[in-house]
């Protein structure tokens, strides 16, 4: 493990720092813009100067940079107060690599540069009510009609569908072959007639996801990526590009915030931080937090040597989410009766961090691969254990038991 930049990395970091120092948007610059406008403004500015989507080829707005350079750029950008650009992550992180791999040259030239600059926002229409962990069990169907395909069905958990211009979509074009073989991949204009978007209200009270209904939505065959029946293979390109969230700080409840709380509330007549049971719990969480931090350093060292991050990176979410949940729960306990108050103005210093985290983490433990799926990935792809036998293997999708 190496904690220092190489000479080239240090030079790149200095360049990035200098550019951010000179170009970080001022409050005046952003005056009057809403969050989306700020994101688009900042993204366009970065790309124009060669500091956005740096891993992409030059022709699409990038600079053919390495993975470690991307990490360094993320670290440096995190140090300034730039507008949040998370709205682009699905388009740039998943749609763009898929288009670059599977689209024809005209489509690449038409869409990829606009993805880089943030002019277009894309969403991902994969998950369905009956296809979550078992994504290939999706049922939304497409039927060929002349030069078009007619889509009927429902997608779910679609982040940002309501503000997206385009979506990447996997549908079933043949129910009479085994499930992976009957899928086809398209991209779709989100303003197409027949698309209806309904926000989902989460237990946290927020709405980050949507249900997307398709009723006789027509998609031209020219918007197909890959061959008919090749949708699973194309999907894998998308899924493999799901951003490894390395180098980022991450939110949620941290050791520091619970330790501070423990110094400010009492157990018996003493500060909780003096209680040995509290100290033991805090220590174990510190060990996990440090372990995650140094594991990400090891990944960075490997990236720096040119290695590709593997499935071992599933550890971060698997450990981090439940740790944050347990720490939030413990912090609420330390607060006794006051612990259930969820009001940002109640505590100036920390707001409602513990209560918000308590309500947010159940979703994080499910999104982007449940804890159980992550454990399967580690067991199968890292340790090499065999898959469970699958009851749907080799039989036509239409004959697979569904429980309904």
């Amino acid at each position: 493990m190496d904690f220092e930049d190489t000479k080239e990395e240090a030079a790149f970091r200095a360049d990035a720092q200098a550019w951010f120092a000179a170009n970080a948007p001022t409050a005046k610059e952003l005056e009057g813009m809403d969050g989306m406008q700020r994101a688009k403004y900042w993204q366009a500015k970065k790309v124009a100067a060669g500091w956005g989507c740096i891993r992409w080829p030059k022709e699409y707005g990038g600079r053919d940079a390495s993975a470690i350079e991307q990490v360094i750029l993320n670290q440096e950008e995190a140090k300034i107060s730039a507008p949040e650009t998370g709205v682009f992550s699905i388009g740039q992180g998943m749609a763009a690599p898929t288009l670059m791999t599977w689209a024809n040259d005209d489509d690449k030239a038409r869409f990829v540069p606009r993805l880089a600059t943030g002019e277009d926002i894309w969403c991902q229409l994969f998950s369905e009510p009956a296809g979550g962990s078992d994504l290939a069990a999706l049922r939304t169907k497409a039927v060929k009609d002349g030069d078009d395909w007619v889509i009927n069905g429902q997608k779910i958990w679609t982040s940002g569908a309501h503000y997206s211009d385009w979506g990447i979509l996997v549908v079933r074009t043949d129910p009479n072959v085994p499930k992976h073989q009957g899928l086809t991949y398209f991209y779709v204009d989100m303003k197409s007639p027949g698309i209806e978007i309904k926000p989902i209200r989460q237990i946290s009270g927020e709405s980050n996801f949507n249900e997307v209904y398709f009723t006789d939505v027509r998609i031209p065959d020219s918007q197909r990526l890959g061959a008919v029946g090749q949708g699973w293979k194309v999907s894998l390109t998308t899924l493999m590009n799901e951003r490894a969230s390395i180098g980022a700080g991450g939110g949620g409840v941290k050791f520091d915030s619970v330790k501070k709380l423990a110094a400010s509330v009492n157990i018996g007549d003493r500060p909780a931080i003096e209680d040995s049971a509290v100290r033991a719990k805090l220590a174990s969480w510190y060990v996990q937090e440090a372990g995650l931090k140094y594991t990400s350093y090891r990944t960075l060292s490997a990236l720096s040597r040119g290695a590709i991050p593997g499935p071992e990176n599933s550890i971060g979410k698997l450990v981090g989410a439940v740790k944050s949940q347990d720490m939030a729960s413990f912090a609420i306990d330390l607060l006794e009766q006051e612990g259930i108050v969820r009001d940002k103005s109640y505590d100036e210093a920390i707001g409602s961090l513990f209560q918000d985290t308590y309500m947010a983490i159940p979703g994080l433990r499910i999104a982007g691969g449940t804890d159980e799926i992550m454990a399967n990935i580690i067991a199968e792809r890292v340790l090499g254990l065999p898959q469970e036998p699958r009851a749907d293997k080799g039989i036509p999708f239409s004959e697979v038991p569904t429980g309904s």
Partner: protein
């Protein structure tokens, strides 16, 4: 192989290598649950001499420690739970040491022992170096959870003792020795924990139940994935500990406690779940699972329990405000 000589400077007949090399050796000793007097002599006695010994003491012992001809050990526990300067009944005066130390590793094969005794000055304790062949030293062997390693109580009755380090500076010196031993022990624990995962994996791949390898059942898969996760995090913390030890970084106390707690938790988990994965066979004397289950507990308490190191960790964050 020169392993005992790894970090001993060349002027004392050692190899003068770094703690990173020693960490690799520790990991491999742990992986095979080696029944050797290594931790006692290398992580504790050698480190204490390197940190606190004067030139004469170093010349007397380091060259033979390097060749492996001499074995040293370290004795501070007196029973009744955690030790503190106030609890020490062992005392020295006029170069003579008396008292009783319990469950000292390799006491019966060591040539010398470094002993913590009460002091009226400084931090309340001083360290002494005692030759095990002294007429005032006697041992009483003791059965432990891990019979592959030897332990004994030591009685000192006016045994000749040389002060190691300053009078009244023993407790501080002991803590520094423990921090260093904690990093190296963490690597040994990690090696053992990795061995447990490997054993459990191999067994689960070959053992069939209900017509398929038990490794294909999620109940087993998730257990092994848990082991992998704990080992990976423990390894990352152990790397950081090795770095801190090797560079004598100011955050060594925090890094050492972090590595120690992580490895202790990982090894306990892997060693018990390895038996579980093996089913009934894992509980038999014939299988090796027991070696690791026994060793995990020996290494979990030999330089202080998980609880003690959790306390040291939090105390270190309070001291340095690094967290």
């Amino acid at each position: 192989m020169g392993w005992t000589a790894t970090v001993i400077p060349e002027e004392f007949g050692g190899l003068g290598l770094s703690y990173l090399e020693l960490a690799v050796i520790a990991e491999e000793l742990g992986r095979c649950a080696a029944p050797v007097p290594f931790g006692s002599s290398v992580y504790l006695a050698t480190e204490a001499l390197l940190l606190g010994g004067n030139q004469e003491q170093k010349e007397a012992w380091l060259p033979t420690l390097a060749t492996g001809e001499a074995i040293g050990t370290f004795a501070y526990a007196e029973g009744g739970g955690q030790s503190s300067p106030k609890s020490l009944a062992t005392k020295a005066s006029g170069g003579k040491l008396s008292g009783r130390k319990v469950v000292v590793p390799d006491a019966e094969i060591a040539q010398f022992v470094i002993v913590a005794a009460a002091s009226d000055s400084g931090d309340g304790a001083s360290l002494y170096l005692v030759d095990m062949s002294d007429a005032g030293v006697s041992t009483e062997s003791v059965q432990t959870l891990d019979p592959s390693r030897s332990h004994a109580h030591i009685d000192f009755s006016s045994a000749s003792a040389q002060l190691l380090g300053g009078e009244g500076q023993g407790w501080g010196l002991l803590q520094r020795v423990l921090d260093r031993a904690a990093v190296l022990t963490a690597w040994e624990q990690l090696g053992g924990s990795e061995a447990c995962l490997e054993m459990a994996k191999n067994y689960a791949m070959g053992r069939y139940a209900f017509g398929r390898a038990i490794a294909s059942y999620q109940a087993i898969k998730h257990k092994l994935a848990d082991m992998y996760v704990k080992n990976t995090l423990a390894r990352s913390n152990a790397y950081y500990g090795a770095w801190a030890l090797n560079t004598d970084a100011a955050e060594l106390p925090l890094a050492a406690a972090t590595a120690r707690v992580g490895s202790t938790q990982a090894y306990y988990f892997s060693s018990k779940e390895n038996i579980q994965t093996h089913g009934g066979m894992g509980y038999t004397w014939e299988f090796d699972c027991q070696f690791y289950y026994r060793r995990s507990k020996l290494l979990a308490v030999n330089i202080g329990s998980e609880g003690l190191w959790q306390e040291r960790l939090i105390a270190a964050t309070e001291q340095s405000n690094v967290a």
